[in-house]
């Protein structure tokens, strides 16, 4: 087993980043335009990075599969973005934000990276504000804050329930400005199919033009992946339906290690599964739990309408079990508590697979107008989907797949194990350990993009200024292009009888059942067997209509689903390996008497980084040991 080197700078925690910046290698402004950077992904992480790298003078080529960068999945983030501004004077600080994230992540994240994420959060809010993001304000004209789960301060900045949209549009406008200046060239409707290495370094990508089907070669001195998370592996999730893990997976197969693949956050509050043809689960933001109270009937199988159930017959189970944090417990805790009640027969709705989120008390106290001001668009969204008015009746919610803490392993430079390949935003594994706290992804994505990667990539590129632009007419590119084409042809030639979607849906169910909110050895092994079988069936019986050289949405899906089988299997391998419960990863074998997650720090205080060893080989496990010097590792307790 090789040792992973996270390249954490020496020195005290709070000084690491400033020391790094003070001593890093630089590229002279005139040389920057000779250096090409490929950036895949235009979510908050990618757009922020593209704008910032363009400003620095690099020659940036940006890719996304949507028709325009502004539609990246970040646009859907609702509740808010954190920063340690302490505008509320409630005792917040960089250290406290760092501490909350380390604890929230159940002591499975790397201290130095998390501290840096907290450190740049303030600059990030300033940057977004200056760019014209219309954050909510108080009457005095200053910015307002609200609270999110798992913390006891108010540090979340927000723009109604559309914070992601507003932050992304801010970063996108910066990206547009650079397109105008000619430092950034935008390649929309392109899907990265493979990563190209030259002499062991990331030097390019193979992309499919989604309009013409043409396979393109692009070269650069370095490649950044900002391709988001793979939560759609469950088929039904809160993510945009085209989100996928394929770009990162291609990098994994070329040698980038994958960190903690099984750490997937199941968000406690989504509109529940209502019927069989449902294609998407819509999130009901965590911010709603600032005012909404979660409950189920005290009586098993109580089918009365929620409003007919008197107060004393309601079980506000979060307030009961976790009096200190109440309805604002972290997501993993909230999700498991909902599952526990529903599994025990107390769930509500036709399927019994949902719980109530009730605004009755908040409306009585603050008035309907105040609630509408805070959550108007979410209430409207809920009513559009379900036909139920949440001002009058409680919402019904249930956990749903939401966010992948796992992702490409990166060091302090946000560089993967492939030199010259960087991963930022949700695509990396870096900052959230085994569980992410609300509003900290937008924070991480923008911090990575605006403030971290522009420095760390410069440090990497400093010794490359003499390397001329890369030719794509080489064997390396040739080979990668050929492999990508062959895979497409193979998918098109199966010509079976079942749609891609039907396979994705079945795969999702397997993973949800056996590698979802609760996992055990027997189930995981069974899940693995089922996926193996389904994957074989897919390659024998999938029907991908049309041809390669055209706009072919079924083909796009097929490529992604083919990868999801493999990603799903790696999730299971990782979940099997980690015989402890931590954060979102709940191994039933490892729980306290009260049903809380039980970590095993002695054996598992490490990041599991997996190395691809070929399609018929088991991946190899590398461990990055986690050492905590600045926080005391404790049992995570929200009671």
């Amino acid at each position: 087993m090789t040792k992973l080197d996270a390249k954490i700078p020496e020195g005290p925690l709070a000084e690491k980043w400033s020391k790094y910046k003070a001593s890093m290698n630089l590229v002279n402004p005139a040389n920057k335009k000779k250096l090409d950077i490929i950036l895949v992904g235009t979510g908050l992480a990618g757009s922020a990075a593209a704008a910032s790298l363009g400003e620095l003078g690099y020659n940036v080529k940006v890719f996304c599969f949507q028709d325009t960068p502004r539609r990246a999945h970040s646009v859907a983030a609702q509740g808010g973005i954190n920063a340690a501004k302490n505008y509320k004077n409630d005792g917040d600080s960089t250290y406290r934000l760092f501490y909350d994230m380390i604890k929230g992540g159940d002591y499975r994240a790397r201290e130095a990276n998390v501290y840096r994420a907290a450190e740049v959060s303030n600059e990030t809010i300033d940057q977004l504000t200056a760019q014209g993001v219309p954050f909510a304000r108080d009457y005095g004209g200053t910015l307002d804050n609200r609270s999110f789960g798992g913390v006891q301060v108010s540090r979340t900045f927000y723009a109604k329930g559309q914070t992601g949209q507003q932050c992304l549009l801010g970063a996108y406008s910066g990206l547009c400005r650079q397109i105008n200046k000619g430092t950034v060239k935008m390649y929309s409707r392109r899907e990265m199919l493979d990563l190209v290495l030259v002499d062991g370094k990331a030097r390019g990508i193979i992309a499919r033009n989604l309009v013409t089907g043409e396979i393109e070669r692009h070269s650069a001195h370095a490649v950044i992946l900002a391709t988001g998370g793979y939560g759609t592996v469950y088929y039904l999730s809160t993510l945009a339906v085209n989100s996928n893990g394929s770009a990162a997976w291609a990098a994994y197969k070329k040698g980038a290690f994958w960190g903690n693949p099984s750490f997937i956050q199941i968000h406690p509050s989504s509109v529940p599964v209502l019927n069989d043809y449902q294609s998407k689960l819509t999130l009901m933001s965590e911010s709603l739990r600032n005012d909404g109270r979660v409950w189920v009937p005290k009586k098993k199988g109580d089918k009365r309408p929620a409003n007919d159930i008197p107060e004393e017959e309601r079980d506000y189970y979060l307030e009961r079990r976790y009096p200190a944090y109440g309805n604002l417990v972290p997501r993993d805790v909230g999700s498991r508590a909902a599952k526990e009640r529903c599994d025990a027969g107390y769930g509500v709705g036709d399927t019994g697979l949902s719980v109530n989120l009730d605004f009755k008390d908040a409306i009585a106290k603050q008035g309907e107008k105040a609630i509408e001001n805070k959550y108007g668009n979410l209430f409207e969204m809920y009513e559009k989907i379900t036909g139920i008015n949440p001002y009058k009746e409680p919402m019904r919610i249930y956990p749903a797949g939401h966010y992948t803490m796992g992702g490409l392993w990166v060091d302090y430079n946000l560089m993967t194990t492939i030199p010259g390949l960087f991963a930022i935003g949700e695509a990396n594994f870096s900052d959230h350990g085994a569980n992410r706290l609300g509003a900290s992804s937008l924070m991480q994505c923008s911090g990575d993009g605006y403030f971290i990667i522009p420095n760390t990539i410069t440090n990497y590129l400093a010794d490359q200024i003499r390397i001329p632009r890369f030719d794509t007419n080489t064997e390396d590119f040739e080979k990668a292009e050929k492999a990508a084409k062959e895979r497409i042809d193979k998918l098109l030639s199966v010509n079976g009888k079942q749609t891609v979607k039907s396979f994705h849906k079945r795969l999702g169910l397997i993973l949800w059942d056996y590698c979802g909110m609760a996992r055990n050895e027997e189930g995981l092994k069974k899940g693995m067997k089922l996926i193996d079988e389904l994957e074989k069936e897919f390659w024998n019986d999938v029907k991908v209509p049309g041809i390669a050289d055209e706009l072919n949405q079924e083909l796009e899906k097929a490529v992604r689903v083919a990868d999801f089988f493999e990603i799903g299997k790696l999730m299971i391998i990782d979940a099997l390996n980690r015989n402890e419960s931590c954060g979102a990863h709940f191994r039933e074998e490892s729980q306290t008497e009260g049903g809380e997650a039980k970590r095993n720090d002695e054996k598992y205080s490490y990041v599991a980084a997996w190395e691809y060893k070929g399609s018929d080989q088991k991946p190899e496990l590398h461990k990055e040991d986690l050492k905590y010097k600045y926080v005391e590792v404790k049992v995570r307790d929200y009671k």
Binding site: D67, V75, E123, A240, S279, G387
Partner: protein
């Protein structure tokens, strides 16, 4: 319920498109419109036909991908609803539903129901930003913004760039989209500085790209899924005139 569909099919930008008729049985009123189209596509694929191409991603009304002209209305008839938020309960059993792409010179059809809306990005690149480099921002609370202005700026900023306003307009004007961005920045202290250049650059790019003029019919406002108001257009026009006068003075 059972429904009939008349859907615009067009193989590629150059091909001549035409309406094709389909029928779909067992449609549940709880299905979203896109889930209904998914069901149609499943049927087409299994029968060996080519599925209908249409754009979508978030399926919750925020990304602006979905873009269908349904029974004569962009995003269908529902008020403040995107196509992905539309449910089959708003249609009746036996109904014939006509589905077309956005029709506008500046939005050419790529395939079936998918159009090219890249012109919006070009307008944005012309001036839809505040020129602030990363790292040069001051503390957020050093910029005070009147709450009402901030809230109004947010309302304008909630445009999803779907293009329904263009599709709804008989002149295919992009005024609502452009004015929403202009207004957002005009209402915020940090956006005011470049206001005059911004409005000129964005408007001239819009004209250059083949969008039509605004003749105040307000179909855009009526069809906008995000409730963007035509008062934005009035604000933009005022700014534009002020900018023209201003630049003449400078000359």
């Amino acid at each position: 319920m059972n429904i009939k569909l008349k859907i615009w099919r067009q193989e590629n930008p150059k091909a001549k498109g035409k309406f094709m008729d389909y029928s779909l049985e067992d449609v549940s009123p709880e299905m979203s419109f896109l889930e209904m189209l998914d069901a149609l596509n499943t049927k087409l694929i299994i029968n060996g036909d080519n599925p209908v191409a249409y754009e979508h991603d978030c399926r919750e009304g925020i990304c602006g991908c979905c873009s269908l002209y349904i029974n004569g209305h962009p995003h269908g008839k529902g008020e403040r609803t995107t196509t992905c938020e539309l449910h089959m309960r708003s249609f009746t059993d036996g109904e014939t539903i006509v589905v077309e792409p956005w029709r506008a010179k500046a939005f050419p059809v790529i395939k079936d129901l998918i159009v090219d809306r890249n012109a919006f990005d070009k307008i944005m690149a012309a001036g839809g930003f505040i020129s602030v480099n990363t790292g040069s921002a001051q503390d957020s609370n050093a910029i005070l913004v009147n709450k009402e202005h901030a809230d109004e700026a947010f309302d304008s900023a909630s445009c999803i760039g779907c293009g329904a306003c263009v599709a709804a307009c008989k002149n295919a004007s992009a005024m609502l989209f452009v004015s929403a961005k202009i207004s957002q920045f005009a209402l915020l202290e940090q956006g005011k500085i470049e206001g005059m250049q911004r409005v000129q650059k964005m408007v001239s790019k819009m004209d250059e790209l083949g969008f039509g003029n605004c003749t105040n019919t307000y179909a855009c406002e009526a069809e906008c899924p995000k409730g963007i108001k035509v008062t934005n257009i009035a604000r933009m026009n005022r700014q534009f005139i002020a900018a023209k006068v201003g630049s003449q003075k400078q000359d």
